[in-house]
Structure formats: structure tokens, C-alpha cells
């Protein structure tokens, strides 16, 4: 297996200190769920990041472009696997990247909202999947604050500038989840 270099810590990335991995568990692979819509401004950032990652995908990682994240996607992750959800978010400064554990959305009372779920809130998608799988899925959400989600608009300048840092953040997270 090719070792993956750990990305340097990006001072612009806000990362939760908790949820660094389950003791004793070694994920057999990391599924990267790229969420968003290509025609809705900053909502496309997950897909842009996926495209950049595909050019040199970290070992042990697989990208799935899912548009909106559904419970089924998480139920399909093999036992022992880990996931990274890449998305745009509202409730966080435009262009600012946040990283938190998958379960980090459950119980939150601030306005941070990944854009990737539709009808069911993100915390419900994660929570229901965990409940049915019988144990929490290991993984991270890496999201960037969106500025505009207008139909037909491209990425806003601040989100476009954040893409390389998002790519690094995902690579870094893959490496951490696999060690």
C-alpha cells in the first residue's frame, strides 16, 4: 500500500480536536462522498474538489459523486470503512473550511448546515445510518462556507480560492483515517 504523505496543517482549516478515530479500528478504505450540484454556484465545490482529487487519488480512497447524501450511501460503506463527506456549507464564513467528525452535526445548535442533504437534515442522515449500522461510522465532514448558491453561477472567488486547501484537507483526512 502506498504511504500517503500527511498534508501540512492549514491555518485556515478549522478542525475539531475530537473524533480522530476509533481505538483499535483500522479502516479498510475511505469513501469520499462528493456532494453538491454543478449548476448552483458554490454548491458545486464538492464536485470540483472530487475532480481535483481524482487526478491523484490517495491510496485506499474511493470517490463517489452523490449529489445529495442519503442514508443508503452510508449503509453501503463496507464494515470497517470510513467516509469523508465533502460539501459546501452555510452558517460559516465564505471560503472558510471546517472539518469535524461525522457525528459532529448531531446535537449542534448553531447555524452550520452542510448543503448535501435534502429534506432530512444532515445530522439525521448520519444518525439514522449509524443507528442501522449498529455503530458510528468513522469519518469526517470537510465543508467550506459558501457565498452564493444561485442557479447558473460559478464558484465565488473565495470558495474557488479555498479549493486547493480543501483538496489538501481531504488528503490529510484520508491519511489520518487510515492510520
Amino acid at each position: 500500500m502506498t504511504p500517503v504523505a500527511r498534508a501540512p496543517v492549514d491555518p485556515h482549516v478549522t478542525r475539531s480536536r475530537s473524533g480522530q478515530g476509533l481505538a483499535g479500528a483500522r479502516p479498510i478504505g475511505v469513501e469520499i462522498f462528493a456532494c453538491g450540484s454543478p449548476d448552483r454556484g458554490d454548491d458545486a465545490v464538492g464536485l470540483v474538489v472530487a475532480e481535483a482529487l481524482e487526478r491523484s487519488l490517495p491510496a485506499g480512497a474511493r470517490i463517489r459523486v452523490v449529489g445529495q447524501l442519503e442514508v443508503d450511501h452510508l449503509l453501503d460503506v463496507p464494515p470497517g470503512g470510513a467516509v469523508i463527506v465533502v460539501d459546501a456549507a452555510t452558517g460559516v464564513r465564505g471560503g472558510h473550511i471546517v472539518e469535524l467528525p461525522l457525528t459532529g452535526m448531531i446535537g449542534r445548535e448553531d447555524r452550520l448546515r452542510p448543503r448535501s442533504s435534502h429534506a432530512l437534515e444532515f445530522r439525521e442522515v448520519i444518525g439514522v445510518a449509524d443507528m442501522i449500522r449498529g455503530r458510528p461510522l468513522e469519518g469526517r465532514i470537510i465543508a467550506v462556507g459558501g457565498v452564493r448558491f444561485t442557479l447558473g453561477a460559478g464558484l465565488s472567488p473565495s470558495v474557488a480560492r479555498a479549493v486547493p486547501r480543501m483538496v489538501n484537507a481531504v488528503r490529510d483526512a484520508v491519511a489520518r483515517l487510515r492510520t
Binding site: T14, R15, V71, I106, E109, R123, I132
Partner: protein, 457 residues
């Protein structure tokens, strides 16, 4: 709960019972502001004000950004439009695609192969199954069973959530097989499909559908026994009615008020208006009456066209009459329609044989193209003018939720006095539950805002 190290949003929770304000100041007063309605598709809010027992204001505020799809398709070819309109909604893209494709085929005089027609109906069955399963189990059931969300429901009633997910997966699978992908399918084309289908790949749907049928029938029994608030609404119901089939792709537009017009003639009976509190246009009939679309309306107007298995399930509930008048019973109507869609899908899968002509040739040209179909949430209408080159010169797309807005507000106003004696949290929950009864898709409803540019010299 994990910390974001001080960044990100702060403070205001944007979900759940976000009610605030003046409730309880006097026995006949109630003010409800639910800033962010949960378990609906899209972003909307509820504002209700009752003073001395009289409803002063009942507004479903839809503030999600409008999307200008009707302008976006101008200058496009019909086949491009079919793909573009599918992007209006991630829950019901098939409804937009199929309505558009029927409109163009009707306008251009294209006759499709019966096997293509059957596959389109199967595709629509898939969307009904996934959309209704999501709503019944994950969006609406928590209200009836006293859970704040699907998360808490899953903790205690894992069986119910798994049943809903299994149904949804079956619907997704159908859309994926026929549409090419589960969300925003890409295979529908004017005159047919972009690809041919093998009998074996369609037949492979049979097994999951058989399992889904058993779950769907149990679903009817589950929801028919739910404790349900008493409420009798008034106002016309509107749906398609087909001579032999339960309405989906085709039929005439009929109403409980005696309307009976072709699916191309929606504009002859209804009109849209802008209201200041909503980004979505509201629709009323030409007499100014709010009307209701959706599963309850379909059952009331075309219940005699149900698949025999669905008809038997409806009879078993004994709720056919109440479904037509109590919006809280729409959860039962949706469950009946899941049985109908699954049973019909099994029949279609069983009898389908490849088309002699998977995509009939056609020529673009000037035409007036219009059609109505039945989306999971109710009747959807499209109209297009094609210019001499066969490109769209103008478009009109009327989704079900924007048509239901006025009825939802009228029902909220009629129902609100009955919750005045309840504890505030319970009153707000009943009102939110009522809104969820219509399964509003706010993302769809805001497809258009009548934009006027005023030049000041």
C-alpha cells in the same frame, strides 16, 4: 457535541420548534413564528397570528431563492429542456422530465411506442415509491409517533425506519435502471429513451418489488392506525383522471367542483398570482378558490382506478371518506399510493417487452406544447411555445407545491382556532404537522419569481 474551535455559526438554532413571540398572552391569542420548517424539502417558515380567537394572519413563507428555470430553457431544444427541468428538484425530477416530454410529444404530434410508454410509467412509479416512502417514514411518521425527528424515531423504531429505507431503495433502483441514475435521470428523450433496455434488466426489478409490496401493505396498516388530529377541510380537490389507469402520466384535469378539461388546458381554469410573503407564485381557480392537489385528491377523484391490491388496502382502512377531507390522513393516502405504484410496477416489469422503436424520429418545428401529469405531490403543468426553429420561445412550469400554497394557508387558518387550548409546544407541533401533511417541496415551488425590471431615467 464537537466544537468548531470558535468559528462557524453561532447561536440561533435553525430547526425544530422555533416558535417565538406572544403566545399565551390571552386565551384566544396565539402567535407562531416557526423560522425554519423542518422535515420539508427546501426552506420555508410559518407565520400565524390569532387574536381573540380570530385568525389575522396565516402565511406559509417561502423564501428559498427563486431559480428562473422558465427563462433558462428559452432558446433550448426540447431534448435539452427535458434534462434541464429535471434539475428543478432532487426528489421529483422524473415528474418534471415526464411532464415536459409529454408536452413536447403532444405539441409536435409524436406517437411513442407502447413499450416506451410503459417504461415511462414504470419510471414514474419508481419516483412515487421513493418520494412517498421518504415522506411517510422519515418526514411524517415522527410527528404521529411523538418523535422530534427521524433520528429519535430510528432509536426506538428501527424496524419502521428500515422499512421506509427499503421501500425508498426500491424506488431509487427503478429510477436508476431506467433513468440512468437515481437523481436527475438522463435517459428520457422526446420520442422515447436515449438507450434501449434489455428485458433481463427490467425483469431484475421484480424481486425487490415483491419484497417492497409486502412492506407497502404493512405500511398501510401502520399508518391507518396512527392517532390523528380531527380536522375537516373545505375547498375543491383537483387531480388527473384517466379512463382506465390510476392517474400518473396522462388523464384529464378534473375537480370535485365539476371541472373536466384536457391536460393541456390548465390555464383555462387556473391562474397564478404573486403574494408579498412568498417567493413562490400561488395558484387559484378562476373563481379565486384555493384548491388542493396530491394523494388525497387523487384518491378522491380517481380511487376507482387504483390497482386491485391498492383498492383492497384502501377498503381495509375504512378511511376513504376521511382521506378526502382530513389532510392529516394524507399519510394513509400516500401509503395506499405506494401499494399502487409497487403493484403496478410489478405488472409492468412482468409484461414489458423491448420496444420495436426505442426512440421514434421526429422533426422540430413551431408548436404549442402543454401537458399535465401527477407528481408525487400533485398535478404539475408545463407549457412551452416553440419557435420556427423548434427552440423554446417561452415556458411556463407550475409545480404542485406552489398550487397547494393557498390551500395550505386556508387550512392553517381554519385549523388554528382548534389548537388555542393546547399547550404551546403541542399547538405548534400540530400546525407544523399539518404543513407536513401536504409534503411541500419548497425547492420546487420557488422555480420562478415574476421579475420586473423598472428603468428609471
Amino acid at each position: 457535541m464537537h466544537d468548531l474551535d470558535g468559528t462557524g455559526g453561532s447561536g440561533l438554532g435553525g430547526s425544530g420548534l422555533g416558535g417565538s413571540g406572544l403566545g399565551g398572552s390571552a386565551p384566544g391569542d396565539l402567535t407562531v413564528d416557526v423560522a425554519g420548517l423542518t422535515r420539508v424539502e427546501g426552506e420555508g417558515s410559518l407565520r400565524l397570528r390569532v387574536r381573540d380567537g380570530q385568525v389575522e394572519e396565516a402565511h406559509l413563507q417561502i423564501f428559498e431563492a427563486p431559480r428562473y428555470f422558465e427563462q433558462l430553457v428559452v432558446g433550448r431544444r426540447p431534448d435539452e429542456v427535458v434534462d434541464i427541468v429535471a434539475r428543478i428538484c432532487g426528489i421529483c425530477p422524473v415528474a418534471y422530465q415526464v411532464t415536459a416530454v409529454h408536452a413536447f410529444e403532444a405539441g409536435l404530434g409524436i406517437t411513442i411506442d407502447p413499450a416506451v410508454r410503459a417504461l415511462r410509467r414504470l419510471l414514474y412509479c419508481g419516483e412515487w415509491i421513493e418520494s412517498h416512502a421518504l415522506h411517510v417514514y422519515l418526514l411524517h411518521l415522527p410527528d404521529f409517533l411523538g418523535y422530534p425527528s427521524a433520528l429519535e424515531l430510528a432509536r426506538d423504531r428501527r424496524d419502521a425506519v428500515e422499512a421506509g429505507l427499503a421501500l425508498k431503495k426500491t424506488g431509487n433502483r427503478i429510477v436508476e435502471v431506467i433513468g440512468g441514475r437515481a437523481i436527475h435521470p438522463v435517459s428520457v428523450r422526446v420520442g422515447g429513451f436515449s438507450r434501449t433496455f434489455r428485458r433481463s434488466e427490467i425483469r431484475a426489478l421484480r424481486e425487490p418489488l415483491e419484497t417492497a409490496l409486502r412492506i407497502a401493505e404493512r405500511t398501510v396498516d401502520l399508518v391507518a392506525d396512527l392517532p390523528t388530529p380531527a380536522f375537516t377541510r373545505s375547498g375543491p380537490l383537483v387531480a388527473l383522471r384517466h379512463p382506465t389507469e390510476y392517474p400518473m402520466n396522462e388523464g384529464r384535469i378534473v375537480s370535485t367542483a365539476g371541472l373536466d378539461i384536457p391536460p393541456t388546458a390548465w390555464t383555462s381554469a387556473f391562474a397564478e398570482t404573486q403574494v408579498p410573503w412568498s417567493h413562490a407564485l400561488q395558484a387559484r381557480d378562476l373563481d379565486g378558490r384555493a384548491y388542493l392537489l396530491g394523494p388525497s385528491s387523487r384518491l378522491a377523484l380517481a380511487g376507482d382506478r387504483l390497482h386491485p391490491l391498492a383498492a383492497a388496502a384502501l377498503t381495509r382502512t375504512g378511511l376513504a371518506t376521511e382521506i378526502a377531507t382530513n389532510p392529516y390522513r394524507s399519510v394513509v393516502a400516500r401509503a395506499i399510493e405506494i401499494v399502487d405504484a409497487v403493484a403496478e410496477a410489478i405488472d409492468l416489469v412482468e409484461t414489458w417487452a423491448p420496444a420495436a422503436d426505442a426512440r421514434v424520429p421526429w422533426s422540430a418545428g413551431p408548436a404549442t406544447a402543454a401537458w399535465a401529469t401527477e407528481a408525487p405531490r400533485g398535478l404539475i403543468f408545463h407549457a412551452y411555445e416553440l419557435d420556427d426553429r423548434g427552440l423554446v420561445a417561452s415556458a411556463r412550469i407550475v409545480p404542485p407545491t406552489s398550487q397547494n400554497q393557498a390551500a395550505i394557508e386556508a387550512d392553517l387558518a381554519a385549523f388554528a382556532p382548534s389548537v388555542l387550548g393546547l399547550p404551546r409546544a403541542e399547538a405548534v407541533l400540530r400546525l407544523e404537522q399539518l404543513i407536513r401533511s401536504y409534503d411541500p417541496c419548497i425547492s420546487c415551488a420557488t422555480h420562478f419569481l415574476d421579475l420586473t425590471l423598472e428603468e428609471v431615467s
